[in-house]
């Protein structure tokens, strides 16, 4: 880690360029998510819903610089948590310092990882849409990122992290990002209770603008290339090499297979291939391939996309029976897709170890299941504690009146759409 002050370490220009681009691509996923979720809510709540994603850019954008990076990637304390006073506000990190043995500036790695920390809590917002108190959401995101995300990222991605050392494979965040956010989304949705107008079996609360949702899905797909192919940073040297190419190819393949599978299932199920179904299939495929992107073949990625879309479709179909209101299916897609992806990784991985179906025995599958189980337990327990704390202090829900009138006007004092007549 230490470099002579006057002799900047040499960087690999190609890798640095790719990581800079990847960092920007991952950030683009946040507006993508905002559009995806924003289109799915009613018009009276589109701004507050999009704001939940955008707020994470501001909040975690600051938190990551101040303390987040230090907790996730600072010197390890027993594999449980990182810390390094020089990383507080990055004040002791020379801009000329490279990240580990990779020939890229550490600041670029800080930025890349920071975007993951931003989008992960924003994913949860889909489960609490149209009813969570905005101040409670702000506190939740800050506490969740600091107390759940940072430790989990440390366990799985830091070279000293205990799950990393145990051998859990999580290429780009199936466990750290999707299982953790998906499970937390479910816990929070249950604790919040359903929206006042949510009556499963008696109609549905319909999306107000699926055009936004499709645009968001497209941006997420595009940004995901940075998310996954940029994550070759943990493995390859130079970063922009064969593993990045593999991750790019598997990402594209799984997204396409997921989109096609969900579309065909709906076509068969209700004789209607819907745009929301296709968009959901894209996400299911992308979520599932995330832990595996640099570990499996493109042929295996077809299986990831198809299985994830099928299982997520079933999960979304079963939701009304349980009565909880995961409004925009954050658990149904990210939680379920993340679990499927983590487990399939143990079956289909061929580098750096051989999975169950690749002649390697069940060992890696077991490790994946343990990693997923730890993430489920930690995220669920942590979310419960944070949400219980917030419920006892600031309160979790908007008032019934605010919810009825829409959070856009009652909380933010804005309307997304005005009548043409008054413009």
């Amino acid at each position: 880690m230490t470099q002579l002050a006057n002799a900047p370490a040499p960087v690999d220009p190609g890798s640095t360029a790719w990581m800079l681009v990847s960092s920007a691509l991952v950030l683009l996923m946040v507006p993508g998510l905002a559009l995806f979720y924003g289109g799915l809510v009613r018009r009276k709540n589109v701004l507050t819903t999009m704001l939940q994603s955008f707020a994470a850019m501001g909040l975690i954008g600051v938190q990551w610089i101040v303390i987040g990076y230090a907790l996730a990637f600072g010197a390890s304390y027993g594999g449980w948590i990182g810390f390094d006073p020089r990383l507080l506000a990055l004040s002791g990190l020379p801009y000329t310092q490279n990240f580990a043995d990779k020939a890229i500036p550490e600041l670029v790695f800080v930025m890349f990882q920071g975007k993951f920390a931003i989008i992960t809590p924003a994913l949860i917002s889909g489960a609490v849409a149209e009813r969570m108190k905005f101040s409670a959401y702000v506190w939740f995101v800050l506490l969740w990122a600091t107390l759940i995300y940072c430790p989990l990222a440390h366990w799985v991605w830091n070279a000293e992290g205990w799950l990393f050392k145990y051998g859990v494979l999580d290429f780009a965040g199936g466990t750290v990002v999707h299982i953790s956010s998906g499970v937390s989304a479910l816990v929070l949705a249950v604790m919040l209770g359903p929206r006042r107008d949510y009556r499963p079996g008696h109609g549905a609360i319909l999306p107000h603008n699926l055009v936004l949702t499709l645009l968001g899905a497209g941006l997420l797909w595009f940004g995901w290339f940075g998310f996954n192919a940029g994550s070759a940073v943990a493995i390859d040297h130079p970063v922009a090499g064969h593993v990045a190419g593999l991750a790019f190819a598997t990402t594209q393949t799984a997204a396409a297979a997921g989109a096609l599978t969900w579309l065909l299932i709906e076509w068969w199920h209700q004789r209607r291939p819907t745009s929301l179904g296709l968009a959901s299939g894209i996400l299911a495929g992308l979520v599932a391939i995330t832990p595996a992107a640099g570990h499996v073949t493109p042929a295996a990625a077809l299986v990831f996309g198809a299985v994830a879309a099928t299982m997520c479709f079933l999960a979304v179909q079963m939701k009304p029976r349980f009565g909880y209101d995961d409004s925009l299916d954050a658990f149904g897609v990210h939680g379920v897709g993340g679990l499927i992806g983590a487990l399939l990784t143990g079956i289909f991985c061929f580098i750096p170890v051989a999975g169950w179906a690749m002649g390697g025995g069940p060992g890696q599958f077991v490790k994946q299941a343990v990693g997923a189980g730890v993430a489920v337990a930690f995220a669920a327990a942590g979310t419960f504690v944070i949400a219980a704390l917030l419920r006892a202090t600031v309160g979790l829900r908007a008032t019934d009146e605010e919810e009825r009138d829409g959070l856009d006007i009652s909380v933010h004092g804005e309307r997304a759409y005005h009548q043409v007549i008054s413009s």
Partner: protein
């Protein structure tokens, strides 16, 4: 003078316009206002698919046409709307005819029949 208010299927607007033009347009442009409205009558709302469920909207989108006409044109206008808007299925809409007390052309201040 009468005020004719017609609720029609949105997809029949063009046919109604063509039919109205044939009876009302005498070298000048005929007058018509069109609004989008939602409501319900006997017709069921559209079925949408959301997350694998069939969801029926409780309001149906229609167009509301408003036109003021002099007595001689009331029946021809009603017949024209019927020709253009009728499909024979539930949901074709309704025509309301009400007496019109006065009419003022804002540009010139003309009143009554001359202003229609």
């Amino acid at each position: 003078m009468k005020l004719i208010t017609a609720i029609i299927r949105p997809e029949r607007l063009e046919a109604v316009q063509t039919a109205l033009q044939a009876v009302l347009d005498e070298g000048d442009h005929y007058r018509l206002s069109v609004e989008t409205v939602e409501g319900h009558g006997r017709q069921d709302g559209e079925v949408e698919i959301y997350r694998g469920q069939r969801v029926r909207a409780n309001l149906v989108e229609k167009l509301k046409l408003t036109l003021g006409v002099n007595e001689a044109y009331v029946e021809p206008a009603i017949q024209a709307i019927l020709r253009g808007a009728r499909t024979g299925r539930v949901g074709d809409g309704k025509i309301f005819v009400t007496p019109l007390e006065d009419c003022v052309r804002i540009r010139t201040g003309e009143r009554g029949s001359a202003a229609i």
